[in-house]
Symmetry: C2
Subunit: 383 residues, 2 copies
């Protein structure tokens, strides 16, 4: 039924089974086309990361102009962030893996925002400031351990970087009214004034390098499509402040292990996601119990095949864990044809996940030594 | 007509002829009684400053408890601030002169907030950030030049002190809702999110010493009665955050030279006030043209006397320029009896004002050297 609203996607709520194509049309963004992917593959030396190759990043705003600029000698920078309320789970890494790929292939700077203030303000469960500060550091280490270059990576850790952010935040906040944030985020009068203010700080990193360097430095923000409204505000006010509009590259959401549209663990749903600090036995239990697209009996599955599109395990292969396109096709075809049963598929994935956890833990140890040195604390200019 | 609302007093608007006693009752504050003044006089070694002795500071919240605490060995600190949109005029000095008196007599610390962010956010005329930053420094020098002790005086210059303020502002902002600031300040949806957030930063200095020292340090805020709503928010949330409620000491507003209730120069009314950077000829012109309580003719005035209560010149004698109570009584009686005519009274006041300007300019030169050293830039703790 066209126009029927059977799902909700806002920065603070995702509900229902999402029709991503319809969502893209509602938001008025551009599709990621084969031509655009081919241009990207060429720029990056012949390869694409899984999430781009497999259509997870499916929508954008102004990406072609940004890439053309890069090709013509105008480098851009990447910006992404994390609201630290607990340990990361694997799907939180999606946007950072893409950023790391861009940085490695194109040599561009990366700016990470850790929003320990916003998570305190937005928490409905009354999370303590000590917790958001603690998880901020832990999450940052996990992100950097994906292979970011310490020399080209800069962190705005809100409570500690406020001196660097605030002079620009003052200018940004002057341009945004309460009625705008009310409409975009669905705030009501009981919203605290920290959260009302917050979008100003979330916008600052998109303009910060241009401000610091005194020239237009284009910005690319890879994010879940649910975060698009946040950055629509940034785009709306950019030119009035003399900065380029940030380009956006939007991903679909990674489905949860319990069969929901999003790997969210709000409420009591910790089994919906694989946390990076889950011990091996927990990871195994969660994968074994995960919702799949399998049939009621082995016999039926051999005969009819399973349905990867609804399977949370297939989603993990697709978004992050199939290393090559050949492997991804093999798993997908095995599933659809009935050759690969769910138990075996889970065992194979589990091996891959555990290997990732081991190598990530190792990288994490080394990253700890320099993670905090990426935190920016000083403003480049007073005004 | 009791209950008739013929004046308006909010932090962003003062209109009509103010009935201060009725306003105090509306706000629910306590009167400054002769007993309280006598206690203060005793504590301070026998004297009171003009603004206390002459009833300008006429209302308070919780002042007796704060003074009793001081008498029992529990020192408090003073907090006052300035929104820097242009040069100070003489009535801006009122609250700081009182603070300086308290500091000198009781040896207590003074915290000054310079709100260069808030003035940018609240400006209806589109003041530039460069201007609020510039006037912030100029205003600070003027304030400190009143005789503050560099060793006991600390400045939060918002854009430069945000690193010191923000960790506590995060906690404060979580406690204040949009509906509260809407009700208190009369904001509407077109208000920018900086101004919505601002009251959090204005509250922080009232708690900052307690937070920094990890023990309850009482706070006294001398301010115009129009600013009471701001600090009612601070008082409401204090105990929930583990800090003592700040005590308040409220002044009446200084009438303007043009005969209005307030020495405000909003709009095109620069002749309503004596700016500290007015050259001597301008000061003279403004005083000569000032609205008085005199009669239509000299003859009539000799016969009937003049009316000090409506006179802007008398208000200057009363609030700041009569040095002793004897002088104040002499001027007042001279006016009322018809002995002192307006021209002569203005000449006498002018001499006093010009002498103040000369000594202030001298003190200012010396203060310039150390004013910026009072600015606090680091937080005492991370959370």
């Amino acid at each position: 039924m066209p126009g029927k609203k059977d799902f909700v996607v806002t920065p603070y709520e995702v509900k229902g089974r999402i029709d991503y194509e319809r969502l893209r049309e509602q938001f008025g963004t551009q599709p990621v086309t084969p031509e655009l992917l081919s241009k990207l593959r060429h720029m990056a030396g012949g390869e694409l990361p899984p999430a781009l190759a497999r259509g997870i990043y499916y929508s954008h705003r102004d990406l072609p102009a940004l890439l053309d600029g890069y090709a013509n000698g105008r480098p851009f920078f990447l910006y992404s962030g994390r609201g630290p309320s607990g340990p990361l789970h694997t799907s939180h890494l999606l946007q950072f893996q893409l950023c790391q790929w861009f940085q490695q292939r194109l040599g561009v700077p990366m700016y990470i925002q850790i929003t320990d203030d916003e998570k305190f303000w937005s928490s409905k469960t009354g999370i303590a400031r000590e917790e958001t500060a603690h998880w901020g550091v832990e999450n940052l280490i996990d992100i950097l351990a994906l292979g970011f270059d310490p020399k080209r990576t800069f962190t705005f850790f809100d409570s500690r970087s406020i001196g660097a952010l605030y002079p620009l935040a003052i200018r940004v906040a002057r341009k945004v009214t309460y009625s705008t944030v009310k409409a975009v985020f669905g705030f009501d009068p009981s919203t605290n004034i920290g959260l009302v203010f917050y979008t100003a700080l979330q916008t600052v990193p998109a303009f910060w390098p241009s401000w610091a360097e005194g020239r237009a430095v284009p910005c690319l923000i890879p994010c879940g499509i649910d975060q698009d409204p946040h950055f629509r505000i940034s785009r709306d006010i950019a030119e009035g402040l003399g900065f380029p509009k940030p380009a956006l590259l939007h991903s679909q959401m990674v489905p949860g292990l319990l069969g929901e549209s999003v790997m969210s663990t709000t409420g009591d749903r910790s089994d919906n996601a694989l946390f990076l600090n889950d011990p091996p036995a927990t990871v195994e239990r969660k994968v074994r119990n995960a919702f799949t697209g399998g049939r009621a009996t082995v016999e039926e599955q051999r005969r009819l095949g399973a349905v990867p599109e609804v399977c949370s395990i297939w989603a993990l292969w697709r978004t992050q864990f199939a290393r090559t396109e050949a492997e991804f096709v093999e798993v997908t075809e095995g599933c659809r044809s009935g050759r690969l049963l769910c138990g075996e598929c889970k065992s194979r994935l589990l091996e891959r996940v555990q290997a990732f956890y081991r190598s990530h833990a190792e990288a994490r140890e080394k990253t700890k030594e320099w993670a905090e040195s990426t935190i920016v604390t000083a403003a480049p200019k007073p005004l």
